[in-house]
Symmetry: C2
Subunit: 208 residues, 2 copies
């Protein structure tokens, strides 16, 4: 029996982001530690960040606002990058709302507030990548934005319970950035920003 390394989970502190590198077949479990927390997820081809997850292309691919379990998220080149593999949360996720950014908090009269856009830029810099010219539409896990029949969007608190998790499988080598959304000017993060946890399950791990 092969001894396999099992990496320690990566804590994503409240209001911050962390990144993980996945090989094809690796699974990434994103856990809402305390419950009620939105995670902004960005996925890039590990070797060529110009190929990246695209919400518009994923909607076109799946003919859904958000993939169903077993379906793939695809890139701006229409190739699968992550598969929506498992989910112990109530299943509310969003792929319509932009990452919060300095302009968002300036409009609240709160300049200097942490944001998912800046968290992404910082996480990419820590991996040696320059600031991107485009902030992609994130996969907003655990974010509850119901769409009414007339197209109106509601902003509700994340209904996640402590320990709820979503699991994604890498379909190409990829760099995934997860930001514990620092939004505290509306209700999306329930009682307030809290940490997430990232667990990488390797291919070997899956088979033992």
């Amino acid at each position: 029996m092969t001894t396999t390394s099992y990496p320690e989970p990566v804590l994503v502190p409240a209001r911050q982001a962390r990144s993980v590198l996945l090989r094809t077949g690796d699974r990434l479990r994103i856990t809402d530690v305390a419950g009620g927390q939105v995670g902004d997820v960005f996925a890039y081809h590990a070797d060529d960040l110009t190929e990246q997850h695209s919400a518009a292309h994923t909607r076109t691919h799946t003919s859904r606002l958000f993939p169903a379990l077993g379906e793939a998220f695809v890139t701006n080149r229409r190739r699968p990058i992550l598969t929506y593999l498992a989910d112990t949360s109530p299943g509310d996720h969003d792929m319509l709302i932009a990452a919060c950014d300095p302009e968002r908090y300036a409009a609240y009269g709160d300049p200097g507030h942490a944001s998912c856009a800046e968290n992404l830029i910082r996480a990419l810099a820590e991996r040696g990548h320059p600031a991107p010219s485009h902030i992609p539409q994130p996969i907003n896990v655990f974010m509850r934005i119901p769409v009414a029949a007339d197209g109106a969007l509601s902003w509700l608190a994340a209904p996640t319970r402590p320990g709820d998790a979503i699991t994604l499988r890498a379909e190409m080598p990829c760099l995934v950035v997860v930001s514990s959304c620092p939004q505290d000017h509306n209700v999306i993060n329930g009682a307030g920003p809290s940490p997430l946890s990232l667990t990488v399950l390797t291919t070997e791990e899956k088979n033992r």
Copy 2:
């Protein structure tokens, strides 16, 4: 009385794109000449193309899948760029589906087919701009993609009648590219791709 120039309408041939430069306050009327034709609309700040319409930011701004009449489309810097001023069409428009691109037609087994993404790149080149690294989610005027309660998207034929038009007002100096979508592998363009027409109504024109 000041004599004002009234530019000739710009014909957007089927399967091609054209662009117009708008000053703040100018209005752009996009007319579906023969009916049943989708237009992919891209809007950039005329002096700085890194600022551009962003569907994700517009949804966040309006809390709707598509703005209501009188509401604004905003940029990736959360500033109004176009206002949805008037509409004589049935009112079906989409802001969820990606621009068609070479990868889309390659998947149909039809490489070399014209696409809105390439049309955008060509239209920008004709204005002296390099190929963009990011193809924005377009404003797909006259495109009928209803969203079911479970988030499923349907692809239906554009319900526009000949002469139906949507009018947008520029809220900043902007370069707007409109592509007569060449998609003919599904039903969105009804009987097949056909032309659109662009009419710029200047501020002076509006007041005379």
